[in-house]
Amino acid sequence: MTAFWKKIVRNRALLLLVLPGTVWFLIFAYLPMFGTVLAFKDFRISPDGFFASVLNSEWVGFKNFEYLFRTSDAYIITRNTILYNVAMIILGLVSAVAFAILLSELLNKRMAKVYQTGMFLPHFLSWVIISYFAFTFLSPDKGVLNQLLTALGMERISWYSEPAYWPLILLFVGIWKGIGYSSVIYLAAITGIDKSYYEAATIDGARKWQQIRYITLPLLRPLMIILTILAIGGIFRSDFGLFYQLPKDSGALYPVTNVIDTFVYRGLMNMGDIGMSTAAGLYQSLVGLILILTTNYIVRRIDRDQAIF
């Protein structure tokens, strides 16, 4: 033990530096993990305060999970969460790299800068604002899309009660918002690539497409992997706003817009049942964990060095 204390003393300065952050992690990340016991309790409010309520509540095993799996909800929200995230990550990656390459090839650098700035705008806006934007297009009576449809002599569509269109809408808006930001990161990486590679390639007679394929993309690969892993790490706080704000809580759209996040939130708000909502949240954490482990496994197969663990 003395060796341990000596080590603490030796590292006291750096330990002091990590202390504030550690306290934060303990309170806001680790303490809630203990809260997951509520998922296994039948929470009843007792007058002696919250902690007494927790202690006095009965253990019920997995009963709180039952409501999740009683209807097809568990399947739907899990499917939506995984599919949307996977699609968003893949399409986001492809389109961001594509735009970055396009931007890097434009002859007029000043225009490229202007485009870049324009594409960056959605990244700075909140989902609340973007849902207002979407409404100007999708509003059934005033929206631009329905005006267009009417002008073309077609039936108007009540966008907020037609689930068929929403996977597309959500994917488009999700990528639209994020692309400016990620393509700029890739662009910075492309401009950082040593020009002599391309010079050598041109001398060898490589065409543009071949240069991209054999120089740019391989050099971008590490960055792609990192950003992808980070994106997957962010699935926990997946774009709640996208799925909650954009469809304006329209029940008809739940089958295609409900993800685990919004399901947990609605559970807490509509039923006010702490036990069941915690159970759903725990389920979400497990799905997230599996997703991350899976990606890590895949990354490991592709490139051992880039895996997180």
Binding site: L17, M119, S126, T136, T191, Y198, T202, I229
Partner: protein, 317 residues
């Protein structure tokens, strides 16, 4: 630990790069095609904002009859007059958001820089443990409800601005970015030599490491500021007292549901034609414009900082 592969571009390199590229450039034909493609997309990113401005300037009656249109047959500034006359709710919300953003960003910077600096130091013998402590939170979380309980039952911070600030002030993501930034821009030798010169760990951190890490700090700071400015989720969870001034984004969410905050000030109604009624729809859009304007005006000037620190720091965690 992989090292960075992107070198930040030096000032003079740009011109050289452009000159060199000339003989490897795309043909003018493809240039036009690319310009149109990228240009259209870039326009689609800016267009909605312009559209909302036009809507907010539409006459309410015209809007109701013609729908949202880019060039309404009748313009009106009634919505803006109404917003400005109807008291200071919008201004107060601006104030709350500003306070949350400033305090939150400072707090984030304090937490992130200290924690990630320690993790970046090879001589730190507990590095493994504290790295794990931070990165494990990316793998598993207690979920929304336990987090909510900690905030309300344990810290009792609901309905205070701390409920909006604290949940966002640290993340494993920003620690990864900042730690990598320290590792790549501040070699251990710099700190060691400072220590040989008699500086303590703290002195070295504050007077040597922080000043040379400003680009990274700016990136993290801007990330965090943006996160705070645009956050509505914490208000949705923790602001349940109607007397509390909501942050801007939350106010926008509330007026989507009802315009009570505006009609509360019905005494100002006198200025408006009672038959035409309240300009409710256009007022909503006017609020969106007013809430977005500061960001739209400011972001072109600091957008490069969003990339600068990250491109250096974007190596694996």
């Amino acid at each position: 630990m992989a090292q960075t592969f992107i070198k930040p571009r030096e000032a003079g390199e740009d011109r050289r790069g452009r000159k060199k590229r000339d003989y490897n450039a795309i043909t003018p034909f493809w240039n036009v095609i690319f310009n149109i493609g990228v240009g259209l997309f870039a326009f689609s990113c800016v267009f909605p904002f312009l559209f909302v401005i036009m809507i907010s300037l539409t006459d309410e009656q015209t809007l109701a009859l013609e729908g949202f249109s880019l060039w309404p047959s009748e313009f009106s500034t009634a919505a803006y007059r109404y917003v400005f006359q109807s008291g200071n709710e919008l201004l107060l919300s601006f104030g709350v958001t500003l306070a949350v953003t400033v305090i939150g960003t400072l707090l984030t910077l304090a937490l992130v820089t200290t924690y990630s600096y320690a993790l970046s130091r090879r001589s730190f013998e507990f590095r493994g443990f504290f790295s794990f402590l931070a990165f494990f939170t990316m793998l598993f979380s207690g979920g929304m409800v336990p987090g909510y309980i900690v905030m309300t039952q344990f810290l009792h911070l609901q309905n205070t601005i701390w409920a909006l600030i604290l949940p966002l002030s640290l993340s494993a993501f920003s620690i990864i970015v900042m730690r990598t930034f320290f590792q790549t821009t501040v070699p251990d030798e710099v700190v060691e030599s400072a220590k040989i010169d008699g500086a303590g760990e703290f002195r070295a951190f504050f007077s040597i490491v922080l000043p040379i890490s400003l680009p990274g700090i700016a990136t993290i700071g801007l990330f965090s500021a943006l996160g705070y400015w645009n956050d509505w989720f914490n208000a949705l969870l923790y602001y349940n007292n109607p007397d509390q001034t909501p942050p801007l984004q939350f106010l926008l969410m509330q007026i989507e549901k009802n315009m009570d905050f505006l009609t509360k000030n019905a005494q100002y109604l006198g200025n408006f034609d009672a038959a035409a009624g309240l300009p409710t729809e256009t007022v909503r859009m006017a609020m969106v414009v007013l809430a977005t304007l500061p960001i739209v005006l400011a972001y072109p000037f600091f957008q490069r900082y969003f990339i600068q620190g990250l491109t250096v720091g974007s190596v694996k965690g």
